[in-house]
């Protein structure tokens, strides 16, 4: 049942997946002037952003098509619906991660001639952050509806823009720059000294966060009233 629901969800979203795939390339290709190291940081954020855009469009379609009222009238539990959505989100996130890495590779190797981006350093964080974004936005959708997703995305983009502007501010950089770079270098040093522990801790935190968010999504859908 869950597999079938996940398959139907993917079939219903083919158009959205295709349109958002173009977004992946349109973000990655213009940013190809970045160095190889910057890609390792940028690709997870690009995947998270595309996952957010995908969710915005898919939840809007979901609400317009009255998919949840249809499913709730059938003998399908909220947990089954959420598991199916989680499975579909794994497939979509994997696709976007691969697309982002392919776009980055094409950009660096054939356009800039600098070799390939660090796949190992990019792929796992990108997949993890993409999965968390998917879970988070589905949970928000089940709890508050598709309109809140749009508002949330607008606020997140504004916050991102402000963060970028703030990072360029000489005043803020003078005050917090050394503090931030010290914290980052401490974390990097600890990671370099304990690579296995760092990977295990980060992996465990990411898996717990993703599972907890999907559990919340199931709870929110179970409590959702179809008025």
């Amino acid at each position: 049942m869950i597999m079938r629901l996940a398959y139907e969800e993917l079939c219903a979203r083919v158009k959205t997946i295709g349109i958002v795939s173009i977004v992946v390339f349109s973000i990655v290709i213009p940013s190809m002037r970045a160095s190889r190291n910057v890609y390792s940081v940028a690709i997870p954020f690009i995947v998270a952003f595309t996952a957010a855009i995908y969710n915005q469009r898919s939840t809007y379609e979901d609400e317009k098509d009255e998919a949840l009222p249809f499913l709730r009238c059938l003998p399908i539990s909220p947990a089954e619906v959420v598991c199916a959505r989680a499975l579909a989100s794994v497939a979509v996130t994997a696709l976007y991660t691969v697309l982002a890495l392919i776009a980055a590779t094409l950009a660096t190797r054939f356009i800039l001639g600098r070799g390939s981006p660090d796949w190992k350093a990019s792929a796992v964080p990108a997949f993890g952050i993409g999965l968390f974004t998917m879970a988070f936005m589905q949970a928000v959708y089940f709890r508050f509806g598709a309109r809140v997703i749009v508002g949330f995305l607008n606020v997140a983009m504004c916050a991102g823009a402000i963060a970028i502007l703030a990072s360029k501010s000489p005043v803020l950089n003078a005050r917090f720059g050394p503090l931030a770079s010290r914290a980052v270098s401490h974390a990097a040093a600890w990671r370099a000294e304990n690579p296995a522990t760092a990977a295990a801790v980060l992996g465990a935190v990411a898996i717990c966060a993703i599972l907890a968010t999907w559990a919340y999504a199931a709870w929110a859908l179970g409590r959702k009233e179809i008025v």
């Binding site: 009238c73 059938l74 003998p75 399908i76 009233e225 179809i226």
Partner: protein, 255 residues
């Protein structure tokens, strides 16, 4: 003991929304009976059906379907319920073929022959998406889908609303046939009284969230007469609703 024999029973079910109160609704439906849930627009018919389907939760009271609590046995209960809503909830891009395949996974007792029988009978195209069908054909598709797993209880929420008389007669005929088949019970919500005249065994009239009357249709009609001739169900319904409005107005004015 009597309660456990009922296929569906609501006891003192209340639910408040801003500007609307469903006030301690109680009624029961026996196996094999067709109940007409009558009420004007906004009376609370759809709210009652959503409460039965556990799409919304009651503030108080209990709902039992097939003798089981509707909240704790939601999935078991829904396997034996066929539901047709006023707007025939169907995925817009889903065809009749797709719907049959999908529902066969959801319902263990799905019978494709029954589904195909109703599709043929209603002339529903197999490969046309639901959004390309007329309202009447969508309702027929929803009814065929609701019948496909041979449900013990058929819940119909204003299925004939907005349909032309020809399609309405066709749909009502199919409902009657479905009810006659194997002692199936039907809860048929409508504000079109004429649809119920030939179909309903029992009638529950609600207005402004309150049950005005819930009893056998023949008993109800036998109590309402103009001289020697009995009133029609429509006349009884209008009278009941109007008199309940007068009562509510007086109550509000403190008389």
């Amino acid at each position: 003991m009597a309660e456990s024999r009922d296929l569906l029973s609501l006891a003192d079910v209340a639910r408040q929304f801003p500007g609307f109160l469903l006030d301690r609704v109680s009624f029961s439906l026996r196996p094999g009976a067709v109940m007409g849930l009558l009420g004007p627009n906004g009376a609370g018919k759809t709210t009652i059906i959503k409460l039965i389907l556990n799409l919304i939760r009651p503030d108080s009271g209990s709902i039992r379907v097939f003798g089981l609590d509707s909240r704790s046995h939601e999935i078991t209960i829904k396997r034996d319920i066929g539901y047709v809503g006023e707007n025939a909830l169907l995925p817009p891009n889903g065809t009749a073929c797709w719907l049959g395949r999908f529902l066969s996974i959801c319902f263990p007792s799905w019978d494709d022959n029954v589904y195909r029988y109703y599709l043929d009978r209603f002339g529903v195209p197999l490969n046309k998406p639901a959004q390309a069908l007329s309202k009447g054909t969508r309702t027929k598709l929803a009814l065929a889908a609701a019948m496909g797993h041979r449900p013990r209880l058929l819940i119909l929420d204003e299925p004939t609303s907005g349909l032309d008389p020809i399609v309405r007669l066709e749909v009502v005929g199919a409902i009657r046939e479905a009810a006659d088949e194997g002692g199936r019970s039907v809860l048929f919500s409508t504000h079109i009284v004429s649809d119920l005249e030939a179909v309903a065994d029992t009638v529950t009239v609600i207005n402004r969230g309150r049950v005005l009357v819930s009893e056998e249709k023949d008993e109800l009609l036998s109590r309402w007469r103009r001289g020697e001739s009995p009133l029609s169900l429509e006349e009884v319904f209008v009278h009941l609703v109007n008199s309940s409005d007068v009562g509510a107005t007086r109550e509000a004015m403190g008389r």
